[in-house]
C-alpha cells in the first residue's frame, strides 16, 4: 500500500472530495450532496470495523470466553433496545433505558456537585483585600479582580433567577449580569472565529501540498473540473428542471 500510484490516487480522491464540499459555497449542489452522503457512509463503515475489533472482540467476546459470564447481562439488556422495532414488545426496551438513565443520573449527581459546584464556589470565595503589618506601618492590598469576579458571578446568577420580578436593585444587578455575559460572549465570538480560520488554513495547506507536480497537479485540475461541473449543473437545472427550485 505504499505504492506511489496509490499515494497519488489518494491525493486525487481527497482533493476531489474537498473541492466537492467547497462547492457548497457557490450553492447547494449535487457534488456537495454526494460528498456529504459519502462522508456519512465511510464514517459508518469505519465505525462498524472499529467497534467490531475494539469493542465486540476485546470488550465482549474475549472476556466472555475467559469466563466472565456477567458480560451477558448488559449484552442482553442492550439487545432489548432492539424491541423498539416491535410494537408489542417495545416496552421491554424501557428496562434498559431506565437502567442507563438511572446509572447516568446517579453517577452525575455527586461528581457534578464536586467539580461544577463546590470547586467553582471555592475558587470564587477569595479575599477582596488583605492587611499586613510591615515595619513601616500597615499594608493594604486590594484584589480588585476578585471583587469583579464575585460581582459578575452573583449578577449572572441573579439574571437567571426567575422567582422575583426584575425591579429596582435586582433589575440593575441582572443588567450587570447581562453585560458580563456579553463580554464573555464576545470572547467566545473572537475565539470561534479563530477556530474556523485555523481549520480553513489547515485545508488551504493541504490543497497547496496537493497542487504540486508530485501529485500530478491534483488541485488545479480538479478545481477546473468542479467549476465546469457546477456550470453544467446550473444549465441542466435551468432547462430541464425549471420548477424544482420554486417548490
Amino acid at each position: 500500500m505504499n505504492d506511489p500510484a496509490l499515494t497519488i490516487f489518494g491525493a486525487w480522491l481527497s482533493v476531489g472530495l474537498m473541492l466537492a464540499v467547497y462547492s457548497f459555497l457557490y450553492d447547494d449542489n449535487p457534488f456537495f450532496k454526494i460528498a456529504e452522503h459519502f462522508y456519512i457512509g465511510v464514517s459508518v463503515g469505519y465505525l462498524i470495523v472499529l467497534s467490531f475489533y475494539e469493542y465486540l472482540i476485546k470488550k465482549f467476546w474475549e472476556p466472555l470466553q475467559g469466563g466472565h459470564l456477567w458480560v451477558l447481562i448488559p449484552a442482553v439488556m442492550g439487545l432489548l433496545i432492539f424491541t423498539r422495532y416491535f410494537t408489542k414488545l417495545r416496552w421491554l426496551s424501557r428496562w434498559t433505558f431506565a437502567a442507563v438513565m438511572g446509572w447516568t443520573a446517579g453517577v452525575a449527581i455527586p461528581r457534578t456537585i464536586s467539580q461544577f459546584l463546590l470547586a467553582q464556589v471555592d475558587a470564587t470565595v477569595k479575599p477582596i483585600f488583605t492587611v499586613q503589618s510591615t515595619p513601616t506601618g500597615t499594608d493594604v492590598d486590594f484584589f480588585i479582580n476578585n471583587l469583579l469576579i464575585l460581582i459578575g458571578v452573583v449578577a449572572v446568577l441573579v439574571h437567571f433567577f426567575f422567582s422575583v420580578e426584575h425591579r429596582g436593585p435586582i433589575r440593575v444587578t441582572a443588567r450587570v449580569g447581562v453585560l458580563y455575559l456579553m463580554v464573555a460572549f464576545g470572547a467566545a465570538f473572537g475565539s470561534t472565529t479563530m477556530a474556523r480560520m485555523s481549520l480553513l488554513y489547515g485545508r488551504a495547506y493541504a490543497l497547496k501540498e496537493y497542487s504540486s507536480a508530485e501529485y500530478f497537479y491534483a488541485t488545479p485540475i480538479l478545481l477546473a473540473g468542479i467549476i465546469v461541473g457546477l456550470v453544467l449543473w446550473r444549465q441542466i437545472e435551468r432547462r430541464i428542471l425549471p420548477t424544482r427550485r420554486m417548490s
Binding site: G10, I81, G106, T112, V153, Y180, G186, A187, G190
Partner: protein
C-alpha cells in the same frame, strides 16, 4: 403485566441511581469493583446502542432507495462509502497502521471530508461579519467590541502591531486588556453559567431517579 411496563422501569432507575450515588460515598475495594463493573456494563450497552444507530440509519436510507424518494440517488453514495470502508477495514483486520487499506481510505476520505466540512464555516463567518454582525443594541456593541479586541490580540501579528502603536509597556499593555477580558469578566460570566448548569444537571438527574422525569421512556 402493567407493573412490568410502567412501574418496574421506574424502579430500575431508582435503584441504579441510588446505588451509584451511594457508591460515590463508599471507599474501598468492593466499591471500586462495583463501580468498575457498573461502568463496564454501561459501556457494553452503549456499544450495542451504536449498532442500533447504524441499523436505524441503514433502515431509513434503504427505505429511501426502495421507495425512490427525492434524493434517493445520494443514498447510493452512502452505501458505496459503507461498503468500501467495510471491505478495506476487514481486509486489514482492523489495523490502522501506516500502509493498510483501512488507513489509506481513512486518510483520504474521512480526514479531508470531516476537516473540510467544518472549514467552510470560516467563509460564513466572513460573510456574516460583513452582512449580519451589527451593533444593534448596547449588548451587541459590547459583545462586538470584546470580540474585536480578542481577535486582534490573540494573533501574533495583532500583538506585534499593538506593540508598535502603544508607547509604554509595548505589546504587554495591549495584551493586558485581552487577558483581562478572558480572566475576569469571561471567568465571572462563564462561572455563573457553570453554576446554573450544574444545578440544572443535578435537578434533571434527581427527577430521573425519582421517576418524575420519564420522557426518556417514550410513549406506550
Amino acid at each position: 403485566m402493567n407493573f412490568l411496563r410502567q412501574q418496574f422501569p421506574l424502579l430500575i432507575a431508582l435503584v441504579t441511581g441510588l446505588v451509584m450515588i451511594a457508591q460515590y460515598y463508599i471507599a474501598g475495594e468492593y466499591s471500586r469493583d462495583l463501580g468498575g463493573k457498573a461502568a463496564d456494563a454501561y459501556i457494553i450497552i452503549q456499544g450495542i446502542v451504536i449498532y442500533l444507530g447504524i441499523f436505524s440509519l441503514l433502515h431509513s436510507h434503504i427505505g429511501k432507495v426502495t421507495r425512490l424518494e427525492a434524493g434517493w440517488g445520494y443514498s447510493i453514495f452512502m452505501f458505496l462509502g459503507i461498503v468500501l470502508m467495510l471491505v478495506a477495514g476487514f481486509w486489514s483486520g482492523g489495523r490502522l497502521d501506516e500502509g493498510t487499506p483501512y488507513k489509506w481510505l481513512y486518510d483520504n476520505t474521512i480526514v479531508p471530508l470531516s476537516a473540510t466540512l467544518f472549514s467552510i464555516l470560516a467563509f460564513f463567518i466572513a460573510s456574516a461579519a460583513f452582512r449580519a454582525f451589527r451593533a444593534r443594541s448596547v449588548d451587541a456593541t459590547l459583545l462586538l467590541t470584546a470580540a474585536v479586541i480578542i481577535m486582534f490580540c490573540r494573533v501574533p501579528w495583532g500583538e506585534y502591531l499593538a506593540g508598535l502603536i502603544s508607547e509604554e509597556g509595548g505589546p504587554a499593555a495591549t495584551r493586558a486588556i485581552a487577558r483581562w477580558i478572558l480572566e475576569v469578566p469571561n471567568v465571572a460570566a462563564t462561572r455563573g453559567i457553570i453554576l446554573g448548569v450544574a444545578l440544572g444537571i443535578v435537578a434533571t438527574s434527581m427527577k430521573i431517579i425519582f421517576g418524575i422525569e420519564r420522557g426518556y421512556l417514550g410513549e406506550d
